[in-house]
Amino acid sequence: MAASNSTPLIEVKEVTKSYHRDNIEIPVLREITLNVPKGEFLAFMGPSGSGKTTLLNLIAGIDRPDAGLIKVDGTDIARLSESALAQWRSSHVGFIFQFYNLLPVLTAYENVELPLLLTRLSRKEKREHVEMTLKLVGLGDRMDHYPKQLSGGQEQRVAIARAIVTDPTILLADEPTGDLDKTSATEIMTLLDRLNKEFGKTIVMVTHDPRAAEKAHKVMQLDKGELTA
């Protein structure tokens, strides 16, 4: 178990989670408690099946704990209804997937614009946000490209742009470099580091890659559903 002395932006308290397969209960997380202060860059490491991604999903509000409390910026997200949780995710969470998960029928611009469809911004404001964000990730000249016309690293940068375009409270990344070559992985980690340092983004990342974890301020180890360091 670990805890921070700073004011926590993310507060996880005694969270337990199990999955059920064929009537067999598989415990994934056991009474996890941790705090993540604002502006933190935290990495979870651990072997496969240790519960890293499950913990990230719970913090993102895309899964629910069996027991325990998860507060993000003061909101107990486990108590929110499905629709309220969806609304909360749209304004507070930026999620970066290992396999980018861009919509193949949309251009880079349109993929980044997707989360803004849920906002009340005008068309002009949306355009400004999208263009600024794509320029920030170094893809200002690739706006009209479809995912299949981009490299893996570029796709992940579009995914990062999509995650940050709404200026979310927290940025969650699940193996963001897991599908990339070394050069692209370095570029992505540099970008995440920049987002943390220059823009003060709170980042929680799951990774197997020790080089990626080096960029984090803090690394937590998970094993068999428990925080070990």
Partner: protein, 386 residues
């Protein structure tokens, strides 16, 4: 970008599949519209039936005749305003394929009882004066290029021999429900010849048309008429014109039921075609829906995306079907043997049925994919490989 743009892009993701689905729906909608148009054409006589007209015919069958002497007795029944009669003449004009109704009618009152047959007054006067004259519908005049004063020779079958008529009137139908392809001539003209050639057939008419004062009294008046001739050699069966027309259709009832059934089976097929496409599309996009939900898209958005896609495809298919059906119905009318269906038009109600069917198909086909998309958790959705 709007949600609709995403729907459009999703539809265009597999262009061939979408085009084939739209075409499949289009062809099915076309078949539905054509079949329903045929069924509607059968029922057009019923639609045009007047509430204040009763038909008194022989109790056994329409093919047996009634004595002319009944006219005055029927006219005396309380509630009866006017009585006229008609007789099915049949016969062949040019050749047997040139079918249209040829009726021997009582010239004085027949056209007053049928105000939907619009005959210019001067033509009506001439018709009434000349025993061998006839009035034809404008469709017959156009089809055979007949003008006032032209002669029409009909080869009789029920009434054998050659029958000469002079066209003295051309009627226009008052509305689309009125058959514009009839030929009317004097019953007296036929009867005079019958008296000479086959006297036992003289003085008989096919059926009486009874105009009543109050349509609400149709049941009582019908009973009163039938009561008059009870236990006579010529018992009558009196019913509303609508019921009389329905009796005609009863003979084709099985065919019409089958056509109706088939047209709704077609709707079922459309549903399966679109349902299959939507299920395939939704299954391929389970992961994408999970991503959208992660981004904050609500259940309503997912319903909108899947339902919108299904409805758009159904609407495109419906429009395609309508676009194909319009010329097809015209072609059907053009090449069909003349006289089969005097009124063969694409009715607004058929278009509404087709539109509603397409809408229902769109909704129904999206239900299962929506159910699946909503009931797949984000975590499970993200695990899916598209």
């Amino acid at each position: 970008m709007k949600i609709f743009k995403l729907i459009t892009k999703n539809i265009l993701r597999h262009k061939l599949r979408s085009v084939l689905t739209i075409l499949g729906i289009g062809i099915a909608v076309t078949a539905f519209i054509v079949l329903q148009t045929v069924v509607e054409a059968w029922y057009v006589g019923i639609e045009g039936a007047a509430a204040n007209r009763l038909i008194a015919r022989h109790a056994v069958s329409f093919i047996f005749q009634l004595p002319l002497a009944y006219e005055q007795k029927i006219a005396a029944v309380p509630g009866v305003e006017r009585v006229t009669y008609a007789n099915w003449f049949s016969g062949v004009y040019i050749d047997k394929s040139q079918f249209f109704a040829r009726l021997a009618v009582e010239a004085e009152d027949f056209f007053q009882v049928y105000p939907e047959l619009l005959v210019p007054p001067d033509q009506m006067e001439t018709f009434k004066r000349e025993r061998n004259s006839c009035i034809i519908g404008e469709q017959i005049a156009q089809r055979y290029n007949l003008k006032l004063g032209d002669a029409m020779t009909v080869e009789g079958d029920i009434y054998p021999g050659e029958w000469q008529f002079i066209v003295r009137g051309i009627y226009k139908p008052r509305d689309k429900m009125t058959d514009p392809s009839n030929m009317f001539f004097h019953w007296q003209y036929v009867d005079e010849r019958m008296r000479i050639e086959t006297p036992q057939r003289a003085g008989k008419i096919g059926w009486y048309i009874v105009q009543i004062k109050d349509p609400a009294q149709s049941a009582q008046v019908s009973l009163a008429i039938d009561e008059l001739f009870k236990n006579s050699p010529y018992e009558t069966k009196t019913e509303t014109e609508r019921a009389f027309q329905q009796g005609f259709l009863a003979s084709a009832g099985a065919i019409l039921t089958a056509m109706n059934f088939i047209s709704f089976v077609i709707i079922g097929i459309i549903m399966l075609v679109l349902g299959n496409t939507m299920i395939m599309s939704a299954r391929e996009r389970v992961r994408e829906y999970a991503v959208l939900k992660t981004l904050g898209f609500s259940a309503g958005h997912i319903v909108g995306l899947i339902g919108g896609e299904a409805l758009t495809i159904a609407a495109a298919g419906g429009l395609t079907g309508f676009a194909l059906a319009v010329p097809l119905v015209s072609a059907f009318e053009e090449f069909m043997p003349k006289g089969w269906f005097p009124v063969f038009d694409l009715q607004p109600v058929t278009v509404v049925y087709a539109a509603v069917a397409a809408l229902c198909v769109g909704i129904a086909s999206s239900l299962f994919p929506i159910y699946r998309a909503l009931n797949t958790s984000i975590v499970n959705g993200l695990r899916q490989i598209g």
